[in-house]
Assembly symmetry: C2
DNA sequence: TGTTTATATAAATATATAATTATATATTAT
DNA sequence: ATAATATATAATTATATATTTATATAAACA
């Protein structure tokens, strides 16, 4: 990523946003901000395959957006910080105001 | 994207976050939230190639995160909404805190 | 009008990532 | 110890996307 004045940590920040930038992960995050949830419940609620959910959860954990704890054979996941919820809410507000423009967005380069 | 209870608009929201989810775009956004900037200035400040910047600007515009206006042969871009800045700030805070948490961690349990 | 400057687009390539299928690990119960 | 349940990992495939190089458009100016 060639960049002259690239602020240090910019890659880290963009990685953080990747947690939110996929439909499956965002659905999962929206469940996690409501509270502790097992992988199985997430699988049920999203309709995604179990390995797929597991893979996304790993990504979210590594990015610092989710935390987990084991209880018996279940593993409970939750959002790591209330700001995860705030970020989603801000985006939803922003989107509500400019939804029309984004409808036509099909490219991401 | 197989999803049972996928909230309507979830794909749209995740698309919005894609604007932030790439290092080059995030660098550009951080410039845009400071105010009107020409493409040339962005190219200079980021060190990215002109076509690359142009391409990212198009994405940001289509996603509703940036607006533009032409003035002579220059085109000025800016963030579309103050919430763009807020979202970035929240993410930075979140990262700073989780980094701090790791830094301050002296116990290994 | 022709040239220079500023920005956008197109084509090609390389890389990243999401989802699937199959399998492994960890915990509890029998 | 074995089976059942819950979750994670690996390998594969398919698709998305970032970047480069080359070219096109649009405005200002000589």
């Amino acid at each position: 990523m060639p960049s002259i004045t690239a602020e240090p940590g910019i890659e880290l920040k963009s990685k953080l946003f990747r947690g939110f930038s996929d439909g499956s992960r965002l659905s999962i995050l929206k469940i996690l901000v409501e509270g502790d949830t097992t992988v199985g419940e997430i699988v049920e609620q999203t309709g995604l395959s179990q390995p797929n959910v597991s893979s996304h959860l790993r990504c979210l954990s590594e990015c610092g957006l989710a935390l987990s704890r084991r209880d018996g054979r279940h593993i409970y996941y939750r959002a790591s910080d209330p700001r995860v919820h705030k970020i989603i809410q801000l985006a939803e507000e922003l989107l509500a105001d400019s939804a029309k423009g984004i409808y036509e967005c099909t490219r991401y380069e």
